[in-house]
Structure formats: structure tokens, C-alpha cells
């Protein structure tokens, strides 16, 4: 596999694993990390999180990755993957600005 592909996968897989562990622990989900598809919907159909759960997810991501999620930005919670995209974007921006990503 191309080294660039390997690097993209490794970076994404790391963030995915941390978010999944966070979800399972904070929400006491009856699933393993493997059970959670990255595109599963967090709101509505899918995991069906309510507003309190959503707040818990936002707090978890903010603490885990040191990023800030704007209040009311529920669009980020469309799926695990959309949350991951947000964290990766923030990390890339922080790295570009000279800061370190967690």
C-alpha cells in the first residue's frame, strides 16, 4: 500500500477508535467498537441519541481532542465519520498554525 494511503488510514483510524471508546463508555452503549459502523447515524435512526446524550458526546469529544464544538452544531453529530472529519480538520488547522494536535 502507498505510504500516503497508510498514513491517512492510520490518522483516521486513531481518531475513530478514540471517539468510539468515548461513545461506548460515556453512553454505556451495548456494543463493541467493531459493532459501530463509522457512518451510523448518532441522532434519530441509528444510535438514536437524545439531546442529553448529544451533549455528552460533544463534551467527550471536546475533552478528548481539545477542540471546541459550537453550541447547537448538531449537524456534526450526523455520524461518527462526520465527527471524525471535524476533529481531523481542527487538528490539521492547529498543526498548520504551529500548535500541536492531541
Amino acid at each position: 500500500m502507498d505510504p500516503r494511503t497508510t498514513s491517512i488510514i492510520a490518522e483516521r483510524a486513531g481518531v475513530v477508535a478514540r471517539i468510539k471508546r468515548n461513545l461506548i463508555t460515556r453512553l454505556s452503549l451495548p456494543y463493541t467498537e467493531d459493532d459501530l459502523h463509522e457512518d451510523v447515524s448518532l441522532l434519530g435512526s441509528g444510535l438514536g441519541l437524545d439531546s442529553l446524550d448529544a451533549l455528552e458526546v460533544v463534551l467527550g469529544v471536546e475533552q478528548e481532542f481539545g477542540v471546541k464544538i459550537e453550541e447547537g452544531n448538531i449537524a456534526l453529530l450526523r455520524s461518527i465519520n462526520t465527527l471524525v472529519d471535524y476533529v481531523l480538520e481542527k487538528n490539521a488547522a492547529a498543526t498548520a498554525a504551529g500548535g500541536g494536535a492531541r
Binding site: 500500500m1 488510514i9 457512518d39 438514536g48
Partner: protein, 365 residues
């Protein structure tokens, strides 16, 4: 082929009919793109003549259904709807189902990728009656879908939580109203007596005119499910029948001791899933991907297309691919071996757009 109660009336209204598992269903009304746009921006109404409907009483049917369906039916509370799946003994998907606990009645609404007889066989031990031919099912979807319903049956419908069910009356016609849908927008499934199908459809269309409602068919629904990331039992479900690679674990309760297909699915789960379904988008301007086309990563085969179509939200062709697990990640550049030559594609996060309904606050309308 069984008759849809609304079929003849819909053909007169311009519907082009198709067949899905022996049931007549509306394919489209002549402009699929306009139908998708109506659902994404306003409201759309579909005759879901392909949906199989079973009824029973809660007292008699809830535990037998729990032993067949993958989700936890036994824990279903009054007034709520469970979105789950029905698998056969081999643990392969047969139907995507809503189970509604409606006072003392239980309603089962199945979109199946198998013949009606196969669904009936799997439900043979459950005291439910197949009422498919006695009812009409309509899907009302879109960020303004609440509008015509509020105007026809009252403001109470605005308070319905997602995956709930209520009984309503429309000028003497009893309706089972489910707050549900598979388009990523607000949605309602409406179950009415077959004899009143044309009346209910007509009233909803008339009331929806000021909200921009349009009738839509299965061709549009397939595209709405695709970029809304709703499982489509008749597209990817028909190609990849195993619910684990399809990412349907959330529809199953692995703690339950009995349900159809449980042992086979748990064995595959314990062995580890070797492939996963991932979304991909073609580079802008490209098209021509078909189900079965091979995706390559760095020149090596990585999987194949299981569903594809035009995404209005993305403004390009997209699809779902069943990929080897090691490369089943968003953000990778693939090529698709299409009939017209190699096409550039990127794996993407789903859903790839923000549905308009997420911006609507029903308590403020």
C-alpha cells in the same frame, strides 16, 4: 401480482409504475430529480405499495415477534416504534422493518428483499395477520412534511417524537401515523384503509400544495436513501445480505437469546467482519459506475460497488462499496473499473450533506 389500492388512481395522476417483489409501486412521475428536490427542500408524498403490513395485538404478538426480529421488540413501549431487521436462519437480511406499539395493537411494516411468502414464513409462529391488501401506506417526507399533516389533523403531530406512533382521524378515516422515515428528512408513515387510499392521498396533496409538496416514487426514494445513508434493503441489502458488513448492528440486540438468524450472525461477528460498506463519490463530472464495478486502491482490487446513483446533496454521482476492511475508511482515493474506463473516486463520510430538516425547530413553527 397483488394490487395496490392506490395504483389506478396514481397512474391517472401521472405515475409510472414498476414492480417490487410482486407488488406494484410507483417508479417515478417523470422527473426523478424534481422529486428528490421536493423531498430535500419541501415535502414529498409516496405511495408505499411495496410495504408489507401485519397486525396483531400487543398481548398476543409482542413476545413471539421478539423471538423473530433482531431488535428488542419486548421492550417496545406504548406509542413507540422500533426500527429493526428480519433475518433468515442463515442470518441474511430479509426485511427492514418498523414495529409500532399502538395502544393494544402492534403493527409491523416491512420493506423486504425477499418474496412476500418468505416474510410470511418467518412470521408463521407469530399471531399476526397479513393486512397488506387491506391498507394503503404513504410516506410523507421533507423539511415541510409536518405542514399538511398539522393542517389536516392538528398541531399535536408537531409534538410526536421520532419513532413514535399515534392514531388520528381524517374526516372519518382512521389513520395510524408513524413519525418515521428513511430519507434523512422529517418523515411520517401513514397507514390508512385501502378503500380510502385515493382520498387520503388527495387530501395530503391538496393540503401540501402551499408547502411545495410533490408526489414521488421509488426511484427518488432510492437516491434519498443513498445520500441520506439510510439502509436500502432493495439496493445494497439485495447485493450484500449480511447485516454486519452493511453496518446494521444498531438494528440488532446482541443480548437477546433468541431471534431469527442470531446464531449465524453471532458466529460471523465473533470471527470478525472482513468487509465493510463505505460511501464513495466520483470526481466531479464523472459518471457511469454500476453495481459490481471493482474499486482499486493504489492499483490493487479493494472491493466492489453495491449501490450507486446521483446525489443532489453532493452534486455528483456517488455510491456504496463493499471494501476490504483494511481499506474501508473515508478519505482515500480509489479508481473504479467502469464500463467506460477507470473513474476517479474518493471514499467519503456519510451522510455527505446537512439535511434541511436538521435546521427546522418543530416547536417554533
Amino acid at each position: 401480482m397483488r394490487a395496490s389500492p392506490a395504483a389506478s388512481w396514481l397512474v391517472n395522476a401521472g405515475a409510472v409504475m414498476t414492480e417490487r417483489d410482486g407488488a406494484p409501486a410507483v417508479a417515478h412521475y417523470g422527473d426523478v430529480a424534481a422529486e428528490v428536490r421536493a423531498v430535500r427542500q419541501a415535502a414529498g408524498l409516496m405511495d408505499a405499495g411495496h410495504v408489507l403490513v401485519f397486525k396483531g395485538t400487543v398481548d398476543d404478538a409482542i413476545y413471539p415477534l421478539d423471538e423473530v426480529f433482531a431488535g428488542n421488540v419486548a421492550n417496545l413501549r406504548y406509542g413507540r416504534v422500533l426500527h429493526t431487521l428480519l433475518a433468515d436462519e442463515a442470518g441474511l437480511v430479509v426485511a427492514d422493518a418498523y414495529i409500532a406499539c399502538n395502544d393494544d395493537e402492534i403493527l409491523v411494516l416491512c420493506e423486504a428483499c425477499a418474496p412476500r411468502q418468505e416474510v410470511a414464513r418467518l412470521l408463521a409462529g407469530c399471531p399476526v395477520v397479513d393486512v397488506t391488501d387491506e391498507v394503503a401506506v404513504f410516506c410523507l417526507d421533507g423539511p415541510k412534511s409536518w405542514g399538511p399533516l398539522r393542517d389536516l389533523v392538528g398541531r399535536d403531530i408537531l409534538g410526536m417524537p421520532y419513532l413514535s406512533v399515534e392514531n388520528h382521524d381524517l374526516d372519518g378515516t382512521a389513520l395510524n401515523l408513524l413519525r418515521a422515515g428513511k430519507t434523512a428528512e422529517f418523515g411520517y408513515w401513514i397507514v390508512a384503509p385501502a378503500a380510502d387510499a385515493a382520498k387520503v392521498h388527495g387530501r395530503l396533496m391538496a393540503a401540501g400544495a402551499k408547502y411545495g409538496i410533490a408526489p414521488y416514487g421509488l426511484d427518488a426514494l432510492d437516491l434519498l436513501k443513498l445520500d441520506g445513508r439510510f439502509f436500502n434493503v432493495n439496493r445494497e441489502g439485495r447485493v450484500a445480505r449480511d447485516p454486519l458488513p452493511l453496518g446494521l448492528q444498531w438494528m440488532m440486540d446482541f443480548q437477546k437469546e433468541r431471534w431469527s438468524g442470531r446464531d449465524a450472525i453471532l458466529a460471523r461477528r465473533a470471527a470478525g467482519v472482513a468487509r465493510k460498506v463505505v460511501g464513495f463519490a466520483l470526481a466531479e463530472g464523472l459518471q457511469g459506475v454500476r453495481v459490481g464495478d471493482v474499486l482499486r486502491l493504489d492499483g490493487d482490487p479493494a472491493g466492489e460497488v453495491v449501490a450507486c446513483g446521483w446525489s443532489q446533496g453532493l452534486g455528483r454521482d456517488m455510491g456504496l462499496a463493499l471494501l476490504d476492511r483494511a481499506v474501508a475508511w473515508a478519505g482515500l482515493d480509489f479508481t473504479v473499473d467502469s464500463a467506460t474506463g477507470p473513474l476517479a473516486a474518493t471514499s467519503i463520510s456519510l451522510p455527505p450533506f446537512v439535511p434541511a430538516s436538521l435546521e427546522v425547530k418543530l416547536d417554533e413553527v
